[in-house]
Symmetry: C2
Subunit: 322 residues, 2 copies
């Protein structure tokens, strides 16, 4: 089997390669790495192998790829995904390019992998903040019907790529519109006519597409904070009927992919970096209204919020259809 | 007139001295600075004068002080405030010691200075996050009756004093239980039996004491972020009846002490540091329910959130009763 990573030199691309290696895919499969002309020739290494990154071009695309994992931004996906699909390659795209396309499933494997069928050639990977939020929300919503969600995010600079982290380290403004050192920026992405930013709009839109037939509404505030890696979210959840806090903690802590406890440790970047789980904690009754709770969550936005989700989609397809 | 600062070498104490100087109080009044034995002998300077810090002790307390501004922690206030009061000195206390005492007014001058009368000898200064939130909330609540507030905070390390900032700079854990560099800590103060931290409980309790006869509820999540100075808050406000967003922006922007705009600049630490105003922005309709909005605010927690509020209380008393 041949697997390609498009945008291999980016933070998500490199983490995809790392996870492919950890999950044993580099042993018996051929991994082909693509990037822009600028990055072509770069050598990326796993524990056991080294790969030379190719320039993405018509004549460098392998025709017999089983999977192509895209993480090179919307414009690259829009331009190149079809080139791979027409060869029969299954494209899993981490960009915003096709997420709102009704014919393209937007998948968090633990929730809606069943939207993928044998003929599916293009799957969208959701936004990082969406992935981290949607699994806990889905888990709770299955037992207690959710009415309304209010979320405030604490998003790390890695969400804006390596140049985002560099702005934090070097106190520059190459990626962000303002300095991020000793600062936060309560605006991620373009501001739309309704006053919400694209990032906030993604959260509202995507979670409802992923959790099909959901009956809740969501309002988001997305904030960039001066942290290298791992996104956190402060989440208020209102329900249609009474809930039991201890039961919610029990349900969350017994869900694969979630680590939940009010006692052991706090969900925070320090303990989430490089981890596969979404960490949930501070689950408590909201006394400001009937039937509501607050919780806090944190996860590695590059790994769980992007690369791992894409590879778990691939693994679902392999397990189900191959 | 003689004015004392107790806890003069702390971040708030030093800012009190700076503001006293800026407001002309150092010219014709005697300023006396107190601190712990460890800090006594320290020399603090304004633009024009230098002061030697005294050790706080029975025999160093001046008997003819008009005002004593306390900012040395609850235990110092509990131990020493009465010593000053019995001499007829008016104590303005920045600690948590007396805030919940029914006989002690908890004052944000722009809101409830009228709770102070000629006989008042002890006034509590609210928590920093409370001060920054309460003026916008009061301003809006006067025109559109608020039903429920959900707030998530982004609190700077200076809120934990100089040792908090040092932990951020030096990547140490002398003040905080975890490293704060490249991390956030979603727990400020002791966790109470209801699952909320003391900081979150302060916000809920204090805002309702300040905004008298308020009919709203409040639920808070308080988070420490790796920023030197200035607290931010993501605020969701639900109302009893329909509201007009543009009118709310107009009301906020025409309120003394608030700078509000959805266009000019974002509320953020970078632009709030050292400023007197509470910066409010991103005021927008919350589409997840009827009659609700989101907004984001930021202010200098040491200055507007503590030192300036205390001095404005003093100035109110001077203007009204002297």
């Amino acid at each position: 089997m041949k697997i390609a990573i498009i945008g291999a030199t980016g933070l998500v691309g490199q983490t995809m390669l790392k996870i492919l290696d950890e999950h044993g895919f580099t042993k018996n499969n051929e991994i082909i790495l693509y990037a822009s002309e600028k990055s072509s020739g770069t050598i990326l290494s796993t524990e056991t192998k080294s790969y030379i990154v190719r320039k993405l071009a018509h004549d460098t695309i392998e025709k017999d790829l089983t999977f192509a994992l895209f993480s090179a931004g919307s414009s690259v996906s829009q331009l190149w995904a079809k080139e791979f699909i027409k060869n029969g390659t299954i494209v899993i795209d981490n960009s915003n390019a096709f997420r709102r396309n009704k014919n393209v499933p937007l998948v968090v494997p633990e929730i809606n992998a069943n939207e993928i069928n044998l003929k599916t050639k293009l799957i969208s990977n959701p936004n990082c903040s969406t992935i981290l939020l949607s699994l806990p929300i889905h888990t709770i919503n299955k037992v207690y019907k959710i009415k309304r969600i209010i979320v405030s995010t604490y998003q790390a600079t890695s969400g804006a790529g390596k140049r985002g982290i560099d702005d934090l380290i070097n106190n520059t403004t190459n990626k962000f519109p303002y300095k991020i050192q000793n600062n936060l920026i309560p605006e991620i992405g373009t501001t739309l006519s309704n006053g919400y930013t694209l990032e906030e709009d993604k959260l509202s839109y995507e979670i409802k597409k992923i959790i099909n037939k959901s009956s809740f509404t969501l309002s988001a505030t997305a904030v960039r904070v001066p942290i290298k890696n791992c996104h956190s979210e402060s989440v208020n959840i209102e329900f249609y009927s009474p809930i039991n806090i201890n039961n919610i903690i029990k349900i969350l802590s017994s869900t694969k992919g979630i680590s939940c406890s009010n006692n052991i440790s706090l969900p925070m970047p320090l303990l989430s970096d490089g981890k596969d789980e979404i960490f949930v904690g501070r689950v408590r009754k909201d006394y400001s209204t009937k039937n509501a709770i607050n919780l806090f969550l944190c996860g590695d936005n590059i790994r769980k919020g992007a690369a791992l989700n894409a590879i778990e989609i691939m693994e679902y397809i392999l397990k189900t259809y191959y």
